[in-house]
């Protein structure tokens, strides 16, 4: 079984050779990282994750956390820096205690590139969503944390209480259509802001019928909770065994780098 994952390691540095697979290939389905939750399950080496159960049943074999993580990389990318990847694997697998990812962590975000019509013109804008978790009730939701729209000449602060259900990421936040159609239904009490905020302004433009949300164009997830690392994860829609939500970028990053990343990439104000 290990051979399958060694092949993964080979492909990480040599490119992807896997071809087209016929419909309803259980193996392809099992291997595909179907949701970001499954990405975290595999990263954490969770016993119940589908791929481990599948391999156990099909091949009567176990796989290691290292093997699982190697296969979370986009193996079609040929320019992975070997020394960086190996250092990352050492940091994750050999650390004591080893780091784990949780859906309820504070330091990971979904960055959505969205399309809309503003005064009849096609525009794009970025929404950064993060998970809000209430310790007391153990309830979670996706909240807008950052916003950037170059067609609006105002700061990108996101003071609204727009909340989406904690599984909205499964359908790539399709529910945003409803939020932009009637934002008042989804906005919790907004904290007072000291300056005009772009997203609030945009929501008002919705009410004035000057803005219409169309759809989410692209989503990337950014994991900043691992010490010294930033992982960028995006979806690769192809029918082979290295597909779904995979690591597309891996950046060694100290605290200062992460703060800069939050500001410049994720539009998060300190």
């Amino acid at each position: 079984m290990s051979r399958i994952f060694c092949t993964g390691l080979f492909l990480l540095f040599a490119g992807n050779l896997i071809g087209q697979i016929i419909p309803f290939d259980e193996e392809v389905f099992a291997y595909r990282v179907k949701q970001i939750d499954e990405f975290m399950e595999r990263f954490n080496d969770t016993d119940e994750t589908l791929i481990k159960k599948y391999i156990k049943e099909r091949y009567q074999a176990d796989i290691t956390r290292e093997e699982l993580i190697i296969n979370l990389f986009d193996l079609s990318r040929r320019d992975w820096k070997q020394e960086v990847v190996i250092r990352f694997l050492e940091d994750v697998v050999q650390a004591s205690p080893p780091p784990y990812l949780s859906f309820y962590d504070a330091d990971w975000y979904a960055l959505l590139v969205c399309e809309g019509l503003y005064h009849g013109k096609r525009v794009t804008f970025d929404l950064t969503l993060g998970v809000n978790y209430e310790e007391e009730t153990q309830a979670a939701s996706w909240m807008v944390k950052g916003f950037y729209a170059d067609f609006l000449d105002m700061p990108g602060e996101a003071p609204t209480g727009v909340a989406l259900n904690p599984s909205s990421h499964g359908t790539d936040f399709i529910e945003l259509i409803h939020i932009f159609a009637s934002p008042e239904k989804f906005m919790a009490d907004s904290p007072p802001v000291s300056q005009p905020a772009a997203l609030s302004y945009l929501m008002k433009e919705v009410a004035q019928k000057n803005f219409q949300f169309k759809h989410v164009i692209h989503i990337t997830y950014h994991f900043l909770q691992l010490t010294n690392w930033i992982m960028k994860v995006e979806e690769f829609s192809k029918r082979d065994t290295n597909a779904g939500w995979l690591i597309s970028e891996l950046l060694p990053a100290g605290q200062h780098d992460k703060e800069k990343y939050c500001l410049e990439v994720l539009h998060l104000t300190p």
């Binding site: 309803f24 179907k34 979670a140 259900n165 499964g170 399709i174 409803h178 029918r239």
Partner: protein
């Protein structure tokens, strides 16, 4: 004929009254004696108990050699009681789970999973999972019963039970996270509803189906969803951009498709993420499934086919069920937004 097929499919898709059937369930009266169990029609005299098997010779057992007798309707008598009497099972709306504490839990659905008994509690609708050792006997809605401990011990516990008409509520800690068993149970329910949806979609798009029958299928399909505002994303190999419809609009549009009939095939393997609680108290999850869509013309030729990966949001939320005029809160799974993750040629 079509209607019968419809009813059969409904029954297959929603076996609401299903329960686990094991070899230890009995259709006849059973007397559990020291020398083993005897099946037949039971009659109790002063000192003896007669069991008449269908077509067989009656067996006469001394009462002090019998632990317990259970009738085919679930009524039972424990001879561990100094003054034994029949505890009648008069109601059959729920499965009854009898505990070692002589409590009776009412359940809609029962699963025996290894050393756990999982059941959907009738009054709250919550799925509860408790150690098997806490239970003595299950009396199913049909009257069939199943002992979960040996007959001698069962008789001892059942001797303390006075009625089957008073239900207790299982005391479980207030949990905001679903247990693995609950997660499994609701996942299965969600998958059944997904299958039901594809059945209705076939009916709605079938040009040979009666209009009233299609109307009914639309109404039934809508009931699977948490509300009519939920969204369905539709993809096609003929266009780059997916289109999003509200569910009702989507179902009505299906009738207008230029196909004679459609076929939906689902991959047998699915993935469901960890179900999470939202701020509104409901629970949310997403199922990822693969689907093959085929459309046929009048000559039964395939005119369009594609392969899609779909993401189906589910919501587990309480709803009120009216039983005998009373409103009973229950939990169930509803479908929510449906997204398309990938569309390809076959």
């Amino acid at each position: 004929m079509l209607c019968l097929r419809y009813l059969l499919a409904l029954f297959t898709l929603f076996p609401v009254w299903s329960y686990s059937v094991s070899e230890a369930q009995y259709l006849q009266d059973v007397a559990y004696a020291k020398d083993g169990s005897v099946e037949g029609i039971i009659e109790i005299n002063k000192d003896r108990l007669t069991v008449k098997p269908a077509g067989g010779e009656p067996a006469s057992l001394a009462r002090d050699k019998v632990y317990l007798a259970v009738k085919s309707d679930g009524s039972f008598i424990s001879f561990n009681n100094p003054a034994p009497r029949w505890i009648e099972n008069t109601t059959h709306e729920v499965h009854k789970l009898i505990t070692t504490q002589a409590l009776v839990y009412a359940a809609d659905h029962v699963d025996i999973l290894g050393d756990k008994v999982g059941f959907q509690e009738y009054y709250s609708g919550r799925y509860v999972s408790l150690p098997r050792e806490q239970f003595v006997m299950i009396i199913y809605k049909t009257g069939m019963h199943e002992l979960l401990t040996d007959p001698q011990q069962a008789a001892r516990y059942l001797a303390n039970l006075r009625t089957l008409d008073h239900f207790s509520r299982p005391e479980t800690e207030r949990k905001v996270k679903l247990s693995d068993e609950e997660q499994q149970y609701f996942s299965k329910r969600a998958l059944r509803k997904t299958e039901a949806l594809s059945f209705y979609l076939k009916v709605i798009s079938d040009k040979d189906a009666d209009v009233l029958y299609q109307d009914n299928a639309i109404q039934e399909a809508l009931k699977l969803f948490v509300d009519k505002d939920k969204l369905v994303e539709v993809s096609s190999l003929h266009r780059e951009q997916n289109i999003t419809y509200k569910i009702e609009e989507y179902l009505n549009n299906l009738r207008m498709l230029p196909y004679q009939k459609i076929e939906l095939l689902w991959n047998q393997i699915q993935y469901i993420n960890q179900i999470k609680q939202g701020p509104d108290g409901n629970y949310y999850g997403t199922i990822t499934v693969e689907q093959v869509f085929r459309a046929y013309d009048k000559d039964n030729k395939v005119t369009y086919e594609d392969f899609t990966v779909k993401a189906i949001e589910i919501i587990i939320k309480p709803f009120n069920m009216i039983v005998d005029g009373d409103s009973i809160p229950k939990w169930d799974v509803f479908l929510s937004n449906i997204g398309v993750k990938q569309t390809e040629q076959l």
